[in-house]
C-alpha cells in the first residue's frame, strides 16, 4: 500500500535570515543556513541583492605603479560634498590619492602633500568637506577655493597643529570633533562653533577622558552624536556626554563597560539609533545604553561566532553604510571580501536583525548620496548599487535551509518532489540543491527559469504589482524530482543573477517518511 507523502511547506524561506548559531536541526525553518548575495525584500522574502553598475570609465588614477605595478587599488572612501549653494562634488580616496569625479577620477591631492595610507574619514560641515586620517594634516575643500588643500593652507584656518591630526572626525552640534591621534588616545578636540578651520580661540577646546574610562583604560575609536549626546566609543567601553551643544560644560551622562567599537567606520546613524560593531557583534547604541553591557543585546545574535571570527581575522578596513531606501545596514570586512546585510525593517523576537551574507564582496567603500543613491567603491572605481549584475557580470544567489526533520529526526525521509516558487528572474538557470544528514555534498536539480514576458509561466505579476520597477515580475513554480533519503534534509536554491531580481516565495517539499533509524 502506497504511503502518504508528507509535506513541508517552507513559506517565505529564510524570512528570518541566516542563523549559524543555533543547532541546525532545532532551528526554525524560517532561518537559513546560507543566504548568500541575498536580501530580505519588502515582502519578507529572501531575494537576490542588487548588483553594482560601475560609473567610472577612467580609473587610471587608481593604477598602482609601486609596489604593486599594474594593480588597480580600490577606492577606500567616497563622500559627497554639498554646500548651501547647491554645489556638489563626489570625492573619493584610493591609491594614496584624493580623487574627485565619478566617471573620470581626477587627482585632487594637494601639491606637495604626501599620502601613504587611504584610511580617510570624510565629513561635510558648513559648506566645506573635511578629510581626516591619523597622522595627516586634515584636508579641506570648499567651492570657493575649488581645490582640496591642507587645512593650515586655508586662509581662514587657525590653530591647526599636529596634535589634532585625528583619525576620527565627527560633524555635530555645530562643530567638528576629532579624536584618535597617533599617541594620544584619550583626548577629543572640538573646533570653534560653526568653523571647522578654527582649532584654537573662540569656543574651541578639548577634553581628556583618560580618567573617565569605566574600566580604567581604553582608547578612543570613534565618535557619534545622537539626541544631544556625544558618544565616545572606546575599544572596550563607551562614554556618553550630554549637553554636547556646549562642550565646555557638557557632562558625563553614562558609561558602558565591556562594550566598545571595533572600528570608526562601522558606526551608522539610522535616524533613531546608532549602530556600531562591537567585538561581539553588531549593536544598537540605544539598546546598549538601556541594557548596559549585556551581551544578549547584540543585533547579530544569529551570526555571532561568524562575526567574531571575521573581526579577529580582519586586517584591513571595515566599511558600512545605512541605506533607508534599501532598509539595510551593510557591514563589509574588506580584507576578507565579506559583507553582511542587516535588514532594518524589523527585528526578530529576540531583537536581533535579519541578516544575509554577500560573499566575495569587492566593495571597499560606500556612500549614500543625498538623493538616496548608494555609491560603492571598488578597484573598478565608483559604482552605483543598482541593477542585477555586478559590473555586467552575473553573481550567485544561494539559499540553503537549516536541516529539516519533518517533525521527527529519528525517521528516514525520502524526498520525492521539491516545488520551489520563485518570483522574478528571467532566463536564468537555477538549481535546487538538497542533501541528507548534514552531508555537504549536495545533489542538484537544475531548471531554466523562463524569460519574463511570453515565456513566463503565468506572465502575471503577483497581486498585479510589479515588485521591481521597470521589470515585469513573473511567478515561476517548478516541481522537481528528488532522490535519496536521510533523517535530516537540507534544501537549497542557487541561481546566477544576471540582470533580473529573484525572490524565493516558498519551497514545498514532498517526502515519504520511513522507518526509525
Amino acid at each position: 500500500m502506497a504511503q502518504q507523502l508528507s509535506t513541508i511547506n517552507l513559506v517565505a524561506p529564510a524570512f528570518k535570515g541566516v542563523n549559524t548559531e543555533d543547532s541546525p536541526i532545532a532551528q526554525d525553518p524560517s532561518f537559513a543556513e546560507i543566504a548568500d548575495n541575498a536580501i530580505i525584500d519588502k515582502r519578507g522574502r529572501i531575494a537576490s541583492r542588487k548588483g553594482y553598475s560601475v560609473l567610472t570609465t577612467d580609473r587610471s588614477e587608481l593604477l598602482n605603479t609601486t609596489p604593486n605595478p599594474d594593480v588597480y587599488e580600490p577606492v577606500r572612501a567616497i563622500a559627497e560634498f554639498r554646500d548651501s549653494g547647491g554645489n556638489t562634488e563626489i570625492f573619493s580616496v584610493g591609491n594614496n590619492k584624493i580623487l574627485s569625479g565619478t566617471t573620470t577620477l581626477v587627482d585632487e591631492t594637494p601639491s606637495g602633500y604626501s599620502i601613504t595610507a587611504d584610511n580617510w574619514k570624510i565629513v561635510n560641515f558648513n559648506d566645506r568637506i573635511y578629510m581626516f586620517q591619523r597622522g595627516y594634516e586634515p584636508l579641506v575643500y570648499d567651492n570657493t577655493s575649488g581645490a582640496v588643500e591642507a587645512m593650515s593652507d586655508h586662509t581662514h584656518s587657525n590653530g591647526v597643529v599636529s596634535t589634532m591630526y585625528g583619525n576620527e572626525v565627527l560633524a555635530a552640534y555645530g562643530r567638528l570633533w576629532t579624536a584618535d591621534f597617533t599617541t594620544d588616545k584619550s583626548t577629543i578636540y572640538w573646533s570653534d562653533l560653526l568653523n571647522g578651520l578654527h582649532w584654537s580661540g573662540g569656543t574651541s577646546g578639548s577634553i581628556d577622558i583618560s580618567k573617565v574610562w569605566p574600566d580604567g583604560y581604553d582608547e578612543i575609536v570613534a565618535l557619534a552624536a545622537h539626541n544631544g549626546l556625544l558618544i565616545i566609543f572606546g575599544q572596550h567601553s563607551i562614554v556618553v556626554y550630554q549637553g554636547a551643544e556646549t562642550p565646555a560644560s557638557m557632562t558625563l551622562a553614562d558609561t558602558v563597560a565591556g562594550v566598545g567599537c571595533v572600528d570608526r567606520d562601522t558606526i551608522q546613524h539610522t535616524g533613531t539609533d546608532v549602530l556600531f560593531l562591537s567585538h561581539t557583534g553588531l549593536r544598537s547604541f540605544g539598546r546598549t545604553i538601556q541594557e548596559k553591557s549585556m551581551p544578549i543585546s547584540t543585533l547579530s545574535k544569529t551570526i555571532t561566532k561568524d562575526l567574531i571570527s571575521l573581526i579577529q581575522d580582519e586586517n584591513s578596513f571595515y566599511r558600512t553604510v545605512y541605506s533607508p531606501e534599501e532598509n539595510f545596514y551593510l557591514l563589509t570586512f574588506v580584507g576578507q571580501s565579506t559583507t553582511y546585510c542587516f535588514d532594518l525593517r524589523g527585528a526578530l523576537e529576540d531583537g536581533s536583525l535579519r541578516v544575509t551574507r554577500w560573499p566575495s564582496s569587492v566593495f571597499s567603500a560606500y556612500e549614500r548620496l543625498q538623493n538616496g543613491k548608494l555609491y560603492i567603491g571598488s578597484d573598478q572605481g565608483i559604482s552605483e548599487y543598482k541593477g542585477y549584475q555586478d559590473n555586467g557580470e552575473s553573481f550567485r544567489f544561494k539559499y540553503y535551509s537549516p536541516s529539516l526533520t519533518f517533525g521527527d529526526a529519528s525517521k528516514l525521509k525520502f524526498i520525492k518532489k521539491i516545488k520551489p516558487t520563485i518570483i522574478g528572474a528571467s532566463g536564468e538557470v537555477a538549481s535546487i540543491k538538497f542533501a541528507y544528514d548534514f552531508d555537504k555534498t549536495y545533489r542538484s536539480v537544475a531548471f531554466n527559469v523562463p524569460s519574463a514576458g511570453a515565456g513566463a509561466e503565468f506572465n502575471v505579476a503577483k497581486f498585479n504589482i510589479d515588485e521591481y520597477s521597470g521589470t515585469t515580475q513573473q511567478v515561476v513554480r517548478k516541481a522537481l524530482n528528488a532522490t535519496g533519503s536521510g533523517s535530516t534534509v537540507v534544501v537549497g536554491l542557487e541561481a546566477d543573477i544576471d540582470g533580473n531580481a529573484l525572490s524565493l516565495q516558498e519551497i514545498n517539499i514532498l517526502a515519504l517518511v520511513g522507518k526509525t533509524v
Binding site: S206, A248, S249, T251
Partner: protein, 266 residues
C-alpha cells in the same frame, strides 16, 4: 691888742674873738652840713644795699606728691627733676614712642606681604576645599580633562579661579589698607606715647603752680617787709639828718648871731 683889732678891724679884740668864734661856728655848721650829706648818702647806700639784700630772690623747691621736684636757683635758674619712677615711666614712653615712630616710618611693603600671607593662610584651606570639591564634581561629570580656549579649563574652573583670584586681589588690597592703617596707628601710638612721656613733666608743672604761688606770697611779704624796713630806716635817716641839720642850723644861727652882735652895736 684890742686896739689893734680896733685899728685894724674897727673892732675890739673881744669883738674880734667873738667874730672868730662866730666864724668858727659858721664853719662848724658848714662842715656839719657837709657831714650830714655824706652821712645821709652813706646811710642811703647802706639802706639800699640792705634792701637789695632783703628784696633779693630766695631759691625755693617745689616737690610733688609723686616725688618730682622743681628747684628755683638763686640766680633765677630753675631745675626740674622727675622722680625715678616718673623717669622710668617717661623713658618707657619715649622708648615706645620711638619704636612706634620707627615702625611708622618703615616702608609698608614687608608688612603688606606679611598681612597678605596671613590672610592667604586663612583663605587657602577653604580655597583648597573648593578646588577639591570642584575637582570631584568635574570628575563625577567626566570633565576633569576639559580644556577650552574660552576659559582655559572648564567654565567652573575658570569661575573658581576667577573668584579666588579676585579674593586674592581683595586680600592684597586689604593687606595694603591694613598696612597703611597700621602705619597710621603706629604713628598715632607714637604720638600717644610721646604725649604720655611728657605727662610726668606736665603734671609736675601743674603741681608747680601752688608752690609758685606760695613762693610769690613769700616774696611779696619779703618785698613788703623790705619796703617797710626801707621806709622806717629812711625815716630814721631823715630824723638823723634833720637833727644834724638842726644842729648845723643852730650852729650857723649861733655864728650868725655872734657876728650880728659884733657888727650890729655901732
Amino acid at each position: 691888742m684890742d686896739e689893734f683889732f680896733r685899728d685894724l678891724l674897727g673892732i675890739g679884740a673881744g669883738e674880734a674873738l667873738g667874730g672868730a668864734a662866730a666864724l668858727g661856728l659858721l664853719g662848724s655848721a658848714y662842715n656839719r652840713l657837709g657831714d650830714i650829706g655824706e652821712r645821709g648818702l652813706g646811710l642811703g647806700e647802706e639802706l639800699a644795699q640792705r634792701q637789695i639784700e632783703q628784696a633779693g630772690f630766695r631759691p625755693y623747691t617745689v616737690t610733688t606728691a609723686t616725688g618730682g621736684q622743681f628747684m628755683a636757683g638763686p640766680e633765677g635758674q630753675y631745675t626740674m627733676a622727675l622722680s625715678p619712677e616718673e623717669q622710668a615711666f617717661q623713658q618707657q614712653m619715649f622708648g615706645g614712642a620711638g619704636q612706634f615712630f620707627q615702625q611708622a616710618a618703615m616702608p609698608t611693603g614687608d608688612r603688606e606681604a606679611a598681612i597678605y600671607e596671613r590672610m592667604r593662610a586663612t583663605m587657602s584651606p577653604e580655597e583648597e576645599r573648593q578646588r577639591l570639591a570642584l575637582e570631584e564634581r568635574l570628575a563625577g561629570q567626566g570633565r576633569l580633562g576639559v580644556r577650552t580656549a574660552q576659559f582655559g579649563g572648564a567654565p567652573e574652573q575658570f569661575a573658581l579661579a576667577q573668584a579666588q583670584e579676585e579674593a586674592r586681589n581683595r586680600a592684597m588690597l586689604g593687606a595694603m589698607q591694613q598696612a597703611q592703617a597700621e602705619q597710621a596707628q603706629q604713628a598715632a601710638l607714637g604720638q600717644q606715647y610721646l604725649g604720655a612721656g611728657y605727662v610726668p613733666q606736665a603734671q609736675m608743672l601743674s603741681a608747680l603752680a601752688p608752690g609758685q604761688t606760695a613762693a610769690a606770697a613769700q616774696q611779696q611779704a619779703q618785698l613788703y617787709g623790705t619796703g617797710l624796713f626801707g621806709e622806717a630806716t629812711a625815716s630814721g635817716i631823715d630824723a638823723l639828718l634833720g637833727s644834724a641839720l638842726g644842729q648845723a642850723n643852730l650852729l650857723g644861727a649861733a655864728g650868725t648871731g655872734l657876728l650880728a652882735g659884733l657888727f650890729g652895736r655901732d
